[in-house]
Symmetry: C2
Subunit: 519 residues, 2 copies
């Protein structure tokens, strides 16, 4: 070797710079175009580099910068999450190395070519995704490849297992740890905040962790946050659960299925959500959270995630098959998903509905109450001492007696009651009925979108408040729903969207659709 | 409506800021976390916004920034390409709107679900991609969806047509405009720089536009650039072609298939390259460039893009089918892709090989010469006056007589000869044979990777120079190839890679593989 390195001296390290840029779960490294170390890489901004400092290594997508204010030629800038992950101070010396695509991309390419993957393949892929070795385009490729020809059920099991193993595992040292989960897609469907206090009041252990909204106007964690702190560290969460048999916390701090968190960030904006991915996403989190008994709610309706009974049945079998591999006791309930549940859509409005039901107020939305009681009843029947079919009436007694409200208040106090009382957004607009008739269709997706545009869930008081539900008689000019917003820009976005299409359809009585399912 | 906008005044516009960040063919908008206009959007950095100024609108992926040095809360930053596309001065007022996913994503989701797409679907998708309405994750989804279940041949035709229509169309007002194209994957395979001067010397019109390397160590444009300027505007290109019957230019300025340029930037790093996408990518560019007669070179070998004859035949039929729809005269030639062609890999080393062949020097690599003559011969036979089977000898006469060299020199002068003569990189390392025997395998992919790591094509003199080819007898310690680099960092990257696996295998004479194809 004749490495005549006196020819051109290239520094071997760069100074680390923290760039407060949120690139949303993708590591991005910023290098100056004149950076000598970078020149070796070629001007391929999409390609990846390994950033190294001693034993620490992260993979990052490369963006090339021409502006000294962002990075100097002697610096390496990292996006916020990447900086946190590398966990070094600014100014420290780092070096870069060529990054090969993650080894498991070979398996993704095999899947694209139509092959079936085995357990080790899924383990490798999920390991690489968890370690943030995949770029967003690579994750997208994996999601489409496993979504398109749809995984067979063994593959769904392998994926679920790999995702579970990649996360933290909670254990509760009790034989019966219950949970419930809805596959989503129905605005206002905040049954968890009723099921949890009812079930806990009965004495069952239900340590409920929920997600925040990604593309919807509110997740259970967003709505619960109107009432109480939901960001609990693991020690605090355990303490609350030990004391009150329950919690209603955000699941993000527990890192139960980190690969799922990363994949969802790509999946939702793409609008792809295959059954196999849904099952592995939900079950991996529930298994990691230590559930032994799980009730899954699949709403069916023309604008729900699942639109036909045959799809619902297929999904149910898939949940059952994978659940059985893990020896979790899993029940599936198929529910009416024709329209939003309750009246409010958006954190504050949904929290109001929930509290009205817990307080047994006359204005409480009855559909939310009924659905919560039926779900709670099924969860209660996981108790060996509860006779099949008797859960509903036990749940109703707990709710009507005020014991569910007591338990909810204890949970709120334990997690930390919010000091300020949030109000519905003060910018309001009523959407009026264009004619006389009956409400024959309410588009779940459209209403969710209007609430999101109005600012939910970031603006807690933003959202939509429904005055009329399916089958209601309305007259021309009568208000159908009210839009709430906190900022005029979002308010205008929402008004524009709803002027285009309100999501409500008025028709004759004979057009009122029946439910796909009967309770 | 009771829009009490005195409650909180939110400014309706932001000041445009140019951020010199190359996000590689994806528009990115940077907004400060405290930006009031942004708050409406929700903290979803992956979601997209429409940036508006009067009639001008671009879609951009959103990155949220916490650093005032990058953007202020009253500013909107744009990545370099997005800024150029919006085409406004810094400081101008811009507004943002919610961006719906591009409408054609519905067709992509139908494709993911296994449906067949029609001509209008492909037109909509390619239109949206060309207008940069797709994020990289959406492009990745489209590529995997159309790559996985592989498009049927009508779909490949629709895609090709849509991609062609989205680009500029050159026309030459001559009945015979010839071109040749290799599907790639074989390092050192610079036959175009020989075929073009031979064919032009015969008097045929061959306006050759080529790409730069994306993941390979050199594209024809990179290698030609060692000798001459390749970035020609359309007027200059036309003038040169009119005068000399040929050019060897970079195709990027002509925007022949802008959707293809965008998709390739996602496709190559993913390492996916389906036959349907390959055919539509190649044919859309050749059709836009105005070719009437086209020769396609498909190399076959264990480390080539096409590894089996049956795949090569399938690909050939697909090229023929789509070509026939456009009434282009298309011939496919299947060639020996077992090893690199010529000796040099990397711009300077490849240019040296080409010039040695044109100058008929004794050290010129014979395999490159032979392959170029066979391809040129087939192109010459597109001339109605050339009898089938006689092209090779005409090509050889043109090369041996020095007329090809003359034509090449005229093309170089017309495009603008490089003022400096590039040299092979001065950092060198010889890779030695680990034993006695014969060369029984040379891994195209590995050699290309070593040359890339050494700095090719950005460092023009970087690359690999092969001393031994398949079937050569070697003794232990004899040099197999030499690595050249210009910078010590890249040099060390390349050495590390080649120490891990050199790409050469030594074995017994009986292990020397035969070619898949016979000339």
């Amino acid at each position: 070797m004749s490495d005549n390195s006196t020819l051109k001296m290239v520094p071997h390290t760069l100074k680390l710079r923290r760039l407060g840029i949120d690139t949303y779960r993708e590591n991005v490294a910023y290098l100056h175009r004149e950076c000598e170390l970078y020149r070796a890489e070629g001007f391929q901004a999409l390609s990846k580099v390994t950033v190294c400092a001693g034993e620490r290594r992260i993979l990052a997508v490369l963006n090339v910068v021409d502006d000294d204010d962002i990075v100097m030629p002697t610096q390496l800038g990292l996006s916020e999450e990447a900086f946190v992950k590398l966990d070094l101070e600014e100014g420290r010396e780092v070096s870069i190395e060529h990054a090969e695509p993650p080894a498991s991309m070979a398996a993704v390419r095999r899947k694209i070519a139509g092959e079936r993957l085995n357990q080790q393949d899924f383990r490798d892929i999920i390991g690489d995704i968890t370690d943030k070795r995949y770029s967003k385009t690579e994750i997208s490729a994996f999601l489409v490849a496993t979504g398109q020809s749809d995984m067979d059920r063994d593959e769904v099991y392998y994926l679920t297992k790999a995702m579970t193993e990649a996360g933290e595992q909670l254990s509760w040292d009790e034989p019966l740890v219950v949970d419930k989960h809805c596959i989503g897609g129905i605005p206002g469907n905040r049954t968890s905040m009723l099921v949890v206090p009812i079930v806990a009041a009965h004495g069952m252990l239900i340590p409920k962790t929920s997600s925040r909204a990604i593309t919807s106007p509110a997740g259970t964690a967003d709505t619960m946050e109107v009432l109480a702190n939901v960001e609990l560290d693991l020690g605090k969460l355990r303490e609350i659960v030990r004391r009150h048999r329950a919690c209603l916390a955000w699941g993000g701090t527990a890192e139960l299925s980190p690969a799922d968190d990363i994949m969802i960030a790509v999946e939702r904006p793409l609008g792809i959500d295959s059954q196999g991915q849904m099952v592995s996403s939900i079950l991996s989190k529930k298994l990691s959270a230590g559930a032994t008994h799980l009730l899954i709610d699949i709403p069916v309706g023309p604008t729900a995630k699942v639109r036909h009974m045959r799809q619902a049945q297929h999904l149910r079998k898939l949940f059952e098959f994978v659940g059985d591999q893990f020896a979790i006791q899993l029940e599936v309930i198929i529910t009416d998903g024709r329209q939003p549940v309750g009246c409010g859509i958006g954190p504050v409005l949904e929290a109001r509905d929930v509290m009205q039901v817990l307080q047994n107020l006359p204005e409480a939305p009855n559909d939310l109450r009924q659905k919560a009681l039926r779900l709670a009843g099924r969860v209660l029947e996981f108790d060996p001492d509860v006779r099949g079919g008797k859960g509903y009436s036990i749940a109703r007694d707990i709710l009507d007696s005020g014991r569910a409200l007591d338990t909810m208040n204890k949970i709120i106090e334990a997690q930390g009651r919010q000091p300020t009382s949030y109000q519905p957004g003060r910018l309001v607009h009523d959407v009026l009925s264009p004619g006389d008739g009956f409400i024959v269709d309410i588009d779940n997706f459209r209403l969710a979108q209007i609430a999101s545009f109005a600012g939910a869930p970031i603006d807690k008081g933003a959202g939509v408040d429904l005055f009329k539900k399916l089958g209601s008689r309305v007259e021309k000019g009568e208000p159908l729903y009210r839009i709430h917003a906190e900022f005029s820009s979002s308010f205008n976005f929402a008004l524009k969207l709803c002027a285009d299409r309100s999501g409500y359809r008025i028709g004759g009585q004979e057009q009122i659709p029946g439910a796909f399912v009967e309770f």
